[in-house]
C-alpha cells in the first residue's frame, strides 16, 4: 500500500489507467453496434448469459391445488442465489403487458440451480391467474435478485411460524431447506436438529391450503408440529387463542406471514407480551380507484388537487409545476411521466391504469399526462 502511495506521489502526472484488452474490445463492439448495444444482439441468442439483464426461463409448471401452482424457473447466469424465506421480483408479460410482482422462493437453494415460486391464483389477480393457468415452459421472464429480511435465523432455536393463506410460501422455503424431501421420504439433516418449530397455518378452508401436504408430512415425521386452522371449521383465528394452541409460546420467536390485518393483530399481541416477532406482508394495501384525487410530484414536492375531468398536465401547470408536453391531445407522447403509485383514467377511453410500488419496473408506469386524469391519489415521478 505504501508503495503505491509513493509511486503516486513521485509520478509527475498520473496517467489514466491503461484500458484493458477486454475494455477495448468492448468499446469496439459498442462502436460497431451503435446506436444499440452489443447486448441487444447477444440477447437474441442467449438471454440468460452472464452480463445480461437478469432473466429466467420457465422450465416447469406443476399444480399444487385447484388454484395454485409451483413455477420452476432456470435463472440467468448472474443469479446470486438466495436465503430461504426471501422473495424475488418477477416480471411477466400478461396479454403482452409487462407486470411485476414479488413472490417467495419456496425452497432452499436447489441442486439443479433452478428457483421456484408457488403462486395462488387470486380472484382478479392478473399475474397470479396468468402464472397458474397461462404460463408455459420455455417462456422468458424477467427477474431481480432475491431480497427480503424474512429469513430463518441460523443456529437453531425455538420458533413459531404463523402463516395465513399463501403466506405459507416463504415458510415452506425455509422448511424445505431444513428438511429436504427425497424419494425415501423427508431427510433429517444434522443442521435441522437445532430447530424446534411449530407452524400455525390459517386458511379459509382445507382444500385451499397450499403445501398442506408438505406440512402434514413434516408433522407426521415429527420434524415440526402443525396446527392447521380452517376458518369454516374452527372460526377465524383470534390471536389470543395462540397461548392455548401453542402452550410454550413465551419461549418461541415468532415469524409471521399473511395479510396486514392478521400481522397488525399479532404485533399488538406480541408487543404487549414482550415477545419477538418478525413479519412479512406482500400485498400493499389495495388501491382505491375513484374520481379525481391528489397528485403528488416527487421532484418538486408539489401536491395538486385534480378532479376526474381535468388532465393531470393541466392541473399541474395550473399549480405551477413545470411539465413536459407537446400536442396536448394524446398523440405525440411528449408528456409521458412515470406514475409511481396510484391510478389514472384515460379521458378518451375511460381505461384505468394503476401503479403499485414494487409492481412496476423502474420509476413507475409511464402515462400520458395530457389525456390522463387522477382516479384516486397519485404519485408522479417528476
Amino acid at each position: 500500500m505504501s508503495l503505491t502511495g509513493l509511486s503516486k506521489i513521485s509520478s509527475p502526472s498520473p496517467r489514466a489507467p491503461r484500458p484493458t484488452l477486454r475494455g477495448r474490445l468492448l468499446q469496439l463492439a459498442e462502436r460497431a453496434t451503435s446506436p444499440l448495444l452489443p447486448a441487444d444482439y447477444l440477447d437474441l441468442f442467449d438471454p440468460l448469459r452472464p452480463g445480461a439483464d437478469l432473466r429466467g426461463r420457465i422450465v416447469e409448471v406443476h399444480p399444487e391445488t385447484a388454484d395454485a401452482a409451483t413455477v420452476v424457473i432456470r435463472p440467468g447466469a448472474d443469479w446470486a442465489g438466495h436465503v430461504p424465506g426471501q422473495y424475488v421480483r418477477i416480471g411477466v408479460d400478461v396479454d403482452g403487458v409487462r407486470q411485476w410482482r414479488a413472490y417467495s422462493l419456496t425452497h432452499g437453494p436447489r441442486a439443479d440451480g433452478n428457483i421456484s415460486i408457488t403462486v395462488k391464483a387470486v380472484p382478479d389477480g392478473l399475474v397470479s391467474t396468468h402464472l397458474v393457468r397461462g404460463s408455459r415452459p420455455g417462456t422468458l421472464v424477467h427477474l431481480e435478485q432475491a431480497q427480503g429480511e424474512f429469513v430463518l435465523p441460523t443456529g437453531g432455536g425455538k420458533f413459531l411460524f404463523v402463516t395465513a393463506g399463501s403466506g405459507v410460501t416463504p415458510v415452506i422455503g425455509m422448511l424445505r431447506n431444513l428438511f429436504p424431501v427425497a424419494d425415501s421420504g423427508v431427510v433429517r439433516l444434522p443442521r435441522a436438529t437445532a430447530y424446534d418449530i411449530v407452524v400455525v397455518h390459517v386458511a379459509p378452508s382445507e382444500p385451499h391450503s397450499i403445501f398442506i401436504d408438505n406440512l402434514r408430512a413434516l408433522d407426521a415425521a415429527g420434524l415440526i408440529r402443525l396446527v392447521a386452522r380452517y376458518d369454516d371449521e374452527h372460526g377465524v383465528l383470534d390471536v389470543d387463542d395462540l397461548e392455548t394452541l401453542v402452550p410454550d409460546l413465551d419461549e418461541r420467536a415468532t415469524l409471521a406471514c399473511g395479510p396486514g390485518g392478521l400481522l397488525d393483530a399479532l404485533q399488538a399481541h406480541h408487543d404487549s407480551r414482550g415477545l419477538a416477532l418478525l413479519t412479512e406482508q406482500f400485498r400493499a394495501s389495495t388501491l382505491v380507484v375513484g374520481e379525481g384525487g391528489t397528485v403528488a410530484f416527487t421532484g418538486s414536492g408539489t401536491t395538486v388537487d385534480a378532479d376526474g375531468a381535468t388532465p393531470i398536465l393541466d392541473a399541474a401547470e395550473a399549480a405551477g409545476v413545470l411539465m413536459p408536453s407537446g400536442c396536448r391531445m394524446g398523440i405525440c407522447f411528449g408528456c409521458v411521466l412515470p406514475l409511481r403509485e396510484g391510478a389514472v383514467r384515460d379521458l378518451r377511453t375511460g381505461e384505468v391504469t394503476t401503479a403499485t410500488p414494487g409492481e412496476t419496473e423502474g420509476r413507475g408506469v409511464p402515462v400520458q399526462t395530457c389525456i390522463s386524469a387522477a382516479a384516486g391519489a397519485c404519485v408522479i415521478d417528476h
Partner: protein
C-alpha cells in the same frame, strides 16, 4: 381558409357540423376496437420483427466482411439496406410514436428507443410526433411539408429559388437522413441570425446531433470496413449504398404520404379552435395511402396506411391493415375521397407536383384547375365558427 389544390369544389362542403362530429365518434369506436383486442399476439409480432431485423443486419454485415467478392457485396448490401429500412420504418418510427408503449417493456418504448438514423430520437420525436402529427399539412407549422426548402402549395409566393426545387428534392432524397436531422434542428431558422446561432439550447441540440452523426459514420464507414480487412473499400461502398437505398426509399414513402395530388393542405388560421372531429377530418384529407402487397406494406413500416396512421398514430402498425376497410367505408359513406394508389403512381404524382410548383402559378395551366382566388372558404373554420 383551407387551401385546396387544383380543385373547383370543396371536398367537405357537403358535411354538416353534426356529420363531422359523427365521423369523430365512429373513428373513436374503431380506435377502441383495436385497443380492446391489443395483446399478446401484437407483442409477439413486434418482438419477432425486431429479432428478425437484428439477425438480418448481423448476417448482412457478416457477409460484407468478404465484400470484395461481388456476390457477397450484392447480397450483403441488399440485406443491410432492407435491415436499415425495417429498423427505421416498421420498428423505429412506430416505436417512437409510442405504438408499443402499452407493453411496458423498457427496451421497446418511445422514451428509450434510439434509431439507426442521423437524427437523435429525442429531436425527431419533437418535430415529427408533436409538430407534424399535430399540425398535419398546415403550411408554416408542419415542417414535413417541403421541409422548409420547397414550395408545396399554390398559395406560397413563388420566388426564383423554387425553380431548382426538383433538384433540392432529389438531393434531399439521397441524403434524407441528414435532411431530417437538419430540419429536426430547424437549421435554416437557427443559423439565420447570430443570436439564434448562439442560443445555448440550439447549441446543445446541435452537439447531440453531431455526436449521433459521428457515431453513425464511425460504425458504417470506419469500424465495419476495418473489420473487413482487405475488403475495406468495398464494405465502405456497400454501407454507403445501403444508406443511400434506405434514404431514397424512405423519402419516396414519406413523399407519398402527404404530397400526391388529391391531398389537401391547410392554412394556419383554419385550425384554430378545431374540434376532435375536425382534427380527424384534417388527417383524413391531408394523407394518402399506397396500395400494394403485404411485403410492400411491411417495408413502408405500414406508412402505406398513412391515412390510418394519421388518424391513430399510437395504434400498433400491424393493425392498420385490418381497420383500413372500415376507414375506407367511412370515407365512402361521408362522400370523402380516400386517396390511394400504387407506389410508382403516387411517387410520380408527388414528383409531378414538385415540378409543377417549381414554376409560378399558371405556367403549366392545363385548364382543369381553379385559380387560387376562387377557392372555397375553409370548411374547418366554417364549422369551428358555427
Amino acid at each position: 381558409m383551407t387551401v385546396l389544390q387544383k380543385k373547383t369544389h370543396n371536398p367537405i362542403g357537403h358535411l354538416t357540423p353534426e356529420d363531422i362530429e359523427q365521423i369523430g365518434v365512429e373513428l373513436d369506436a374503431i380506435r377502441q376496437s383495436v385497443i380492446d383486442t391489443r395483446g399478446a399476439a401484437d407483442a409477439a409480432y413486434i418482438r419477432k420483427v425486431i429479432a428478425t431485423q437484428r439477425k438480418l443486419e448481423l448476417g448482412s454485415r457478416a457477409v460484407l466482411l468478404v465484400s470484395m467478392f461481388p456476390p457477397a457485396w450484392v447480397v450483403g448490401t441488399a440485406g443491410l439496406a432492407v435491415a436499415k429500412i425495417i429498423e427505421n420504418m416498421e420498428i423505429g418510427h412506430n416505436v417512437m410514436h409510442g405504438q408499443w408503449d402499452w407493453m411496458r417493456d423498457p427496451k421497446i418504448h418511445s422514451t428509450t428507443w434510439e434509431w439507426d438514423n442521423a437524427s437523435p430520437s429525442e429531436q425527431w420525436k419533437h418535430s415529427h410526433n408533436e409538430l407534424h402529427h399535430t399540425y398535419t399539412n398546415v403550411i408554416g407549422k408542419d415542417n414535413d411539408l417541403g421541409y422548409g426548402i420547397m414550395r408545396v402549395d399554390e398559395d406560397q409566393r413563388w420566388v426564383p429559388l423554387y425553380a431548382a426545387q426538383p433538384l433540392w428534392n432529389f438531393v434531399n432524397a439521397c441524403f434524407f437522413e441528414y435532411g431530417i436531422a437538419a430540419y429536426d434542428l430547424e437549421l435554416g431558422k437557427n443559423l439565420a441570425t447570430k443570436e439564434r446561432r448562439q442560443d445555448p439550447d440550439f447549441r446543445a441540440r446541435a452537439t447531440v446531433t453531431l455526436k449521433k452523426i459521428r457515431n453513425q459514420m464511425t460504425k458504417d464507414y470506419v469500424i465495419h470496413p476495418l473489420l473487413s480487412g482487405p475488403s475495406f473499400l468495398s464494405t465502405l461502398g456497400a454501407n454507403a449504398t445501403a444508406n443511400l437505398i434506405r434514404n431514397l426509399w424512405t423519402h419516396s414513402v414519406i413523399m407519398c404520404g402527404h404530397f400526391p395530388e388529391g391531398v389537401e393542405t391547410f392554412e394556419r388560421r383554419s385550425i384554430v379552435g378545431e374540434t376532435r372531429g375536425e382534427w380527424y377530418l384534417r388527417q383524413m384529407l391531408g394523407s394518402a395511402n399506397i396500395s400494394g402487397s403485404k411485403a410492400m406494406h411491411f417495408m413502408t413500416g405500414n406508412l402505406s396506411f398513412q391515412i390510418e396512421h394519421h388518424l391513430f398514430p399510437d395504434l400498433p402498425s400491424n393493425r392498420y391493415q385490418e381497420i383500413a376497410p372500415q376507414v375506407q367505408d367511412l370515407f365512402r359513406r361521408y362522400g370523402l375521397t380516400y386517396t390511394t394508389g400504387s407506389l410508382p403512381r403516387q411517387v410520380a404524382s408527388a414528383w409531378k407536383k414538385v415540378f409543377r410548383l417549381s414554376l409560378p402559378n399558371g405556367a403549366l395551366r392545363r385548364g382543369r384547375g381553379a385559380t387560387v382566388t376562387d377557392l372555397p372558404t375553409a370548411p374547418a373554420r366554417e364549422h369551428a365558427a358555427a
